[in-house]
Amino acid sequence: MNIGVCIKVVYDYETPAEKFHLGNNRMHGDYKEVLGLYDEHAIEVALQLKSNMNAKLYAISYAKSDKVSVLKKALSMGSDELIVINGEKDDPFQTAYNLVNAINKYDIGLVVFGRMSSDLEREMVPPLSAAMLNWRYLPYVISITKDENNDRFTCIQQLEDKNLTLSLGGKFVASITDAPCNLPRIPNLKEIMKSKSKPIHIEDEVNFTSFDWAREMDVKIPTYEYVNEMLPNEDLNVTAKLLIDNLKKEHYL
């Protein structure tokens, strides 16, 4: 069975607030481009599953084809092939529809997503894709393994107060949340070299009948004002004393 991992290129999510600005109601395009944080964890889960079941792993993105240089990280981490559906809308229905077309075309039977994109953070694309595929959907998964003696999979789901070990067969979609067990690997030189000859497929996007899920009215940058005071740092014992005195004066300690 082929497996898939859906990944999105986003502008640097660690950009500090004071350097953040908008253009056309989206983060302005002059920042470094990176893979989404949860998407890298999803690649790691998919890679572990790939070696566990000897499957072929496709990394899939609905993105402008000029994002390939960033998406190639998935190949240098160990994915076998990259599918880019050339499009740039950020409608979750359009995105899911195009990802699903690729999932069907490349005969993929299990797909993992990041829990949420590191820009729009809507957590919509994975369940919508599952609904369009008519497959089961498991959120907040941290690991997936194929059972040795049967056709079933074992998934660990991380919840607020417990970890659940789940067993299921058949086709499904999982969204991946971060955990130490799926910390993304750093591509090594050998994998980087190998990735240069891996196939990259560029597909045309297909328009999904528009779905009026909600109307985007406005995007605003919230402003927060705080009073800051730099304490002297020549002698840290003096600094610490000054801090304690201030906190006591303000009744915090």
Binding site: G169, A179, A214, R215
Partner: protein, 299 residues
């Protein structure tokens, strides 16, 4: 838009149900609920409560059958993650996800994105609508109205059922959301041993330790200590940020802290824009000085 009825879908957590209880009554008073539970009664201001004691993934078709009779569906938490997108698509509903504020009269829903650096306003223009709320952003309206749970069969074939084969409780040793003093550490702490020192100083101050995601990723401290957008939301009076740069996803969790003290070797670190007291120093050197001074003051 006139809302005739609303359906709440969640698990049986008091807080999650309370938040849905609060928001749903802003739309109408004719509320039913679906809970994932094994309790025989639930406290909620609803007429009828349907129950499932299976995973939401096993019940999705039955939920859709019930949900199609309502104008507004409100959900949150893990159950919201399971059912939100699926119901919206199956039932052709308008929808908004990750909602942290609502302008009720205008049907406008606010969702923060880009790690809390931008607020998106969405207007719902048609019913039925599905609304997925972010947790801990709305008042939890407690109820004393006990309603019997009417359990419903999930209706999936045995072959398709997702089964739970193991349940491992995560023992909660801290309640970061309620602590008054929190001592947080980030990547700058550099090791597990560093966090042991932070725990010690937290104890001395009568508080608890906390962490950034980078520290949790490095396995220096467990996930239950994570503060921020995907961790705990603090309501502390005092928060010490040692070796934390101040990414907006981290700042999202300390929005309500009264007094932030930042200790960082980089004077350009964004955390200094949020903090009340800024100290440019190595965290360990400052902790040592702080311990000395606390001992001098308190004996």
């Amino acid at each position: 838009m006139k809302v005739n009825n609303a359906l709440i879908i969640s698990d049986d957590s008091k807080d999650r149900l309370g938040e849905l209880n609060f928001v749903s009554h802003k739309f109408c008073n004719n509320i039913d609920a679906i809970v994932f539970s094994n309790k025989s009664e639930i406290e909620i201001d609803a007429n009828k409560v349907f129950g499932f004691n299976t995973l939401p993934v096993n019940a999705i078709d039955r939920i859709a059958q019930i949900a199609k009779n309502y104008d507004v569906i409100l959900t949150n938490g893990i159950v919201g993650a399971y059912v939100g997108g699926i119901l919206a698509y199956k039932l052709n509903m308008s929808c908004v996800f990750g909602v942290n504020e609502i302008k009720y009269d205008d049907f406008i829903f606010i969702h923060s994105a880009y790690g809390d650096k931008a607020l998106f306003e969405y207007k719902i223009e048609r019913l039925p609508a599905l609304i997925v709320l972010k947790e801990k952003y709305f008042e939890a309206l407690a109820s004393t109205n006990k309603v019997n749970v009417e359990y419903v069969e999930a209706d999936v074939s045995k072959q398709d059922t997702v089964t739970v084969i193991k349940e491992e409780k995560i023992e909660k040793t801290v309640d970061l959301g309620k602590a008054k003093i929190v001592v947080g550490g980030g990547r700058g702490i550099g090791s597990k041993e560093g966090f042991a020192i932070l725990e010690k100083i937290a104890k001395k101050l009568g508080g608890v330790a906390g962490a950034s995601r980078a520290a949790v990723d490095n396995n220096w401290i467990s996930y239950q200590y994570q503060i921020g957008q995907s961790g705990a939301m603090l309501s502390a009076d005092v928060y010490f940020a040692f070796g934390i740069s101040g990414a907006t996803q981290h700042l999202a969790g300390i929005k309500n802290v009264k007094c932030v003290i930042a200790i960082n070797t980089d004077e350009q670190a964004p955390i200094f824009k949020r903090a009340r007291y800024n100290i440019v120093a190595d965290w360990k050197e400052f902790v040592n000085a702080l311990i000395n001074q606390l001992e001098a003051v308190n004996g």
